[in-house]
């Protein structure tokens, strides 16, 4: 190994990885023509790469990359989305309609209306029976009879005088 070898050997790895400049490449190549030691070093690097490459490629073929990619893609999307609350806030911030002056009274009104509606909807509703058309009946002066005809949907409340009853009895 000559003196120039020590300077070239520093570039040799970069040359092997094709990371040298044109000037460095010319320097290394002219040196390699005259230096057997450096050529051997370069060849051993290539041998090492071949030695590593085959098992790595084999491992890569066995690996389930689509699944890995899906996982990465999901992660990227979830980071892009942000939380629903952030989305809502940004949307409200963007829309002039939903400035605080408008949406606070709007939300308060909607909440009040919902409260009133639920009171009306869920109010205990009495069961209505079609049969009992007359809930109650009383009279201080008459006797009463109730006739019902479901056919004609007629209910008749008939008031009888005492005289009527007397005459009907006799």
């Amino acid at each position: 190994m000559t003196d120039s070898c020590s300077s070239v050997s520093k570039l040799l790895e970069k040359y092997f990885d094709r990371e040298v400049t044109d000037k460095e490449r010319l320097l290394v190549e002219s040196h390699l023509q005259s230096c057997l030691t450096c050529r051997d070093t370069l060849m051993s690097m290539e041998g090492l790469r071949t030695f590593i490459k085959a098992p790595v490629e084999e491992a890569v073929q066995q690996e389930d990359f689509p699944w890995v990619w899906q996982k990465i893609d999901r992660e990227i999307r979830s980071q892009e989305k942000g939380s629903w609350w952030q989305s809502l806030r940004s949307w409200m911030g963007l829309s002039p309609l939903f400035k605080k002056k408008v949406w606070i009274p709007a939300v308060a009104t909607i909440a009040t209306l919902l409260f009133i509606s639920t009171q009306v909807i869920f109010k205990k509703i009495p069961s209505y029976s079609e049969r009992s058309v007359v809930e109650y009946i009383e009279s201080e002066t008459y006797n009463i009879m109730v006739y019902e005809s479901e056919k004609t949907k007629t209910t008749m409340i008939w008031l009888f005088d005492e005289e009527d009853q007397e005459s009907s009895r006799s």
Binding site: V120, Y128, T154, I157
Partner: protein, 146 residues
């Protein structure tokens, strides 16, 4: 856009309010007529009554004395003079969908001739009859217009 939103903000509660108001009111048809077996005169507006009464009581003559269509509001009484010398008072007690509970009071000189609560539904007629009037009887019919 902002204007439309504000209009909707005011219109929606108003519509809800009007809906709730109409829920507690009902228009009724009140008819007072004389039915008798003297003659065969049937007023044209009472022809339907004759068909309804026939299975119960059959009269040959129906003469309309009075017809009204007052609107009843929840727990508010509506009074109307009824022939002869009587007063009929109607009060809407409850309303649910197409069913209305109405309290009917007939008074004569502050005496309760009749005090009852009836349930009005579409197509149903409540008739109150019996007090003598002339040769026949007075009949009061009540139906709701939903």
């Amino acid at each position: 856009m902002k204007r439309i939103f504000l209009i909707l903000l005011f219109v929606f509660p108003l519509s809800l309010l009007s809906a709730s108001l109409s829920y507690g009111q009902v228009q009724v048809r009140l008819r007072v007529f004389e039915a008798s077996n003297v003659g065969t005169r049937i007023d044209s507006s009472l022809k339907d009554m004759r068909d309804q009464f026939k299975p119960l009581v059959d009269f040959s003559s129906y003469r309309l004395l009075k017809e009204e269509t007052p609107t009843l509001y929840l727990n508010q009484s509506v009074s109307s003079p009824a022939h002869p010398g009587r007063k009929i008072e109607l009060t809407l007690i409850r309303q649910h969908k197409n069913v209305a509970d109405v309290r009917v009071k007939i008074q004569r000189e502050e005496i309760d001739v009749l005090n009852t609560q009836v349930r009005l539904s579409p197509g149903r007629t409540i008739s109150i009859g019996g007090p003598k009037h002339g040769e026949g009887v007075i009949i009061i019919t009540l139906s709701a217009q939903f």
